[in-house]
Amino acid sequence: MKTNDIILQTVTKVTLFIIILFSIHLFFAGHYYPGGGFVGGLMTSGAIVLLLLAFDMKTVANILPIDYKYMIATGLLFAVGTGAGALLFNAPFLTHAFKDVYLPLLGKTSLHTAVLFDTGVFLVVVGVTMTIIQTIGEDE
């Protein structure tokens, strides 16, 4: 019998944005509240897994044409780059700095280089999780 997944697909389309927004919130809240790159990355990959459950793998590869192995490499490059950037300023490896910056729209914002390191963690976690799940999934 041909099954009809319209309820699952519609609810996925609505809830996906809530999950993605919540994962971004977790990612940026990581410095002052519980959260961070790891949980945010896991939740983002959870949203993509929900897409994979509701639609099939070819559709999701059409929506998000990302090779997740490159994503792992980019994340590791972010982490090493923020560590090595400290060497340029004559500081030890992985020394982080922050600065209060006046941005045009956001006002006074404290920008910290640990966020870039966290971006690396985020990308690696999303990449590793999606690589594992897609490798197991497309077992044909």
Partner: protein, 123 residues
């Protein structure tokens, strides 16, 4: 005013706990997958939603802290929990899990056109 809000919070949390308990009793006592799923996905959803609403009101009234994540959680559970129940029920039906002995009507089976008479699965 604060006392009224406190009473509302207490009532909401007690109602939520009571509904979750009712859902647990329903899962234990009801005869087949579909009725258990009915109890679990309805009563537990409303129970968890009222517990979350009580928690939200507590932190808003007592601490002055507007926690938007609780509101998002209420919306999220309200959207996803019935869909989860629907998917579990449908998977059970497609896998051929029989209805309880006391059930007399199976419209989906006649609509699928495989068998005309109802309640043929249980001999």
């Amino acid at each position: 005013m604060i006392e009224i809000i406190r009473i509302i919070i207490i009532v909401l949390i007690l109602i939520g706990a009571f509904l979750s308990l009712v859902a647990a009793f329903g899962v234990i006592r009801l005869p087949d997958v579909y009725t258990r799923n009915h109890a679990a996905s309805k009563a537990a959803t409303l129970g968890v939603m009222s517990v979350l609403l009580g928690t939200f009101l507590y932190f808003y009234a007592e601490e002055g802290h507007f926690n938007s994540r609780l509101i998002l959680g209420i919306i999220f559970i309200f959207m996803t929990s019935p869909v989860a129940g629907h998917l579990i029920s449908r998977a059970a039906y497609n896998a051929g899990v029989p209805l309880a002995d006391v059930s007399v009507q199976d419209d989906l089976k006649t609509k699928k056109g495989s068998q005309v008479s109802v309640n043929q699965e249980k001999p």
